[in-house]
Symmetry: C2
Amino acid sequence: MAAKRRQTAQQEHAADVSIYVAAGGEESVQRVITAVYAVTKKLDQWYVRQFADLDLTQGEWSVLASLARAGDTCLTPSQLADLSNVAPSSMTHRLDKMGGRGLLQRRPDESNRTRTLVSLTKDGWALFSAAVRESNVVESDTLRDLSDAERHELARLLEIVIAGLDDIDA
Amino acid sequence: MAAKRRQTAQQEHAADVSIYVAAGGEESVQRVITAVYAVTKKLDQWYVRQFADLDLTQGEWSVLASLARAGDTCLTPSQLADLSNVAPSSMTHRLDKMGGRGLLQRRPDESNRTRTLVSLTKDGWALFSAAVRESNVVESDTLRDLSDAERHELARLLEIVIAGLDDIDA
DNA sequence: ATCGAATATTTCGTCATCGAAGTTCGATTT
DNA sequence: AAATCGAACTTCGATGACGAAATATTCGAT
C-alpha cells in the first residue's frame, strides 16, 4: 500500500505537469514549479494543525517569523505587511491582537513620529522558538528520503533561484 | 547594484537559516525549507498581480487548477475544499461566484444525490490556460539562472520529497 | 421495514482581510 | 517661514473565510 501510493504520487505529479504543458506551459519550468507547490501545499496543511496547538494562525506566524528574522532591528507595521503579503490595514488589527497577548510591543519612533516600531517580547520569542521546534518535526519527516548530500544539493539549487528573485520585478 | 543584491539575497537567506537553527531547528532541514518558502512567497506576490488582470483570486485559481488537473473526472465541493485547503462552507460561495461567471457548472450526482459534481466549462478551461501561460512567464524568469540539467536535478529531488509526502500523516 | 449513524452540502453568525478615505507628521518647494 | 506634497498608520464599509448548526440523503443494524 505504501509502495503503491509512492508510485501514484509520482504518477499524479507527472500527470499534473502534462496538464500544465497542455495548457501552454514549458515542461522544464512546470516540472519544478508544480513540485515546489506540491511540497508547500502539504506543509501548509501541517502548519495549520500544528500551530493550532500554540493558538497561532499562519498570519500571526508570519509576523513572528519576520520579527525574529529581523533580530535586534525593529520593524514597522508597513514592513511587516509587506513581508507578510498583506494589506497595511490588516496588519493593524493583527498587531493589536498579538500585542494584547503580550507577544510583541509597539512603541513610537522618536526620530519620526509617523512611524511605529514593533519588536518581539520575551514571550514572543519563546513562542517563535516553540513553533520552530514543532515545525521542524514534520519538516524533517518531509526530507527523510533525502541524504545529506541530496539536501545540500537541493538547498544549493534553490539558493541559486533565490539569488535571482529580486532582479525580476524590475 | 544587481551584483550587490545578488550577494545580499544569499546572505539574508543564510542569516534567516541561522535564526531558525538558533531557535531549535536542524540546519540541513531549515536550509531547504526556508529556501522553498522564500521562492513560493515571491511567486505568490507575482501571482496576485498577474491574476488580477484576469479577475482571478488565488482561491479561484486553486479551484480552476484542481478541476483542470482532474481532467474528465468531476470533483465534489468537498474534494475541492480539501484540495484548496479551505473549509467546505467557504467553497459553496466560491463555486456560486465562479458558476455565475460561467467558469464551471454544478450538477447533482444521480448515483448519490447528497453529492454535487463540479466540472469546468469551456470558458473555465480557457481561463485556466490563459493563467498558465501568463504564470509561465514569471516562473520561467524565476528559473532563468538554472541550466536544463540543474532544472532536471531540482525536479528530481523535489519529486523524491513528493513521493514520501502521503505517508507522513499516518 | 424502520430507526439511527454517517456523509455531503448549504445556511448563519463571527472574525479576518481588503481598498479607500481620514489623520498626523515630515520633507521639499517657493 | 508657509504651504503643499508625500509617507505611515489607523478607521470604516464591504467582501471572503471559518466553525457550528441545519438539511437532505445514504448506509447499516435491529
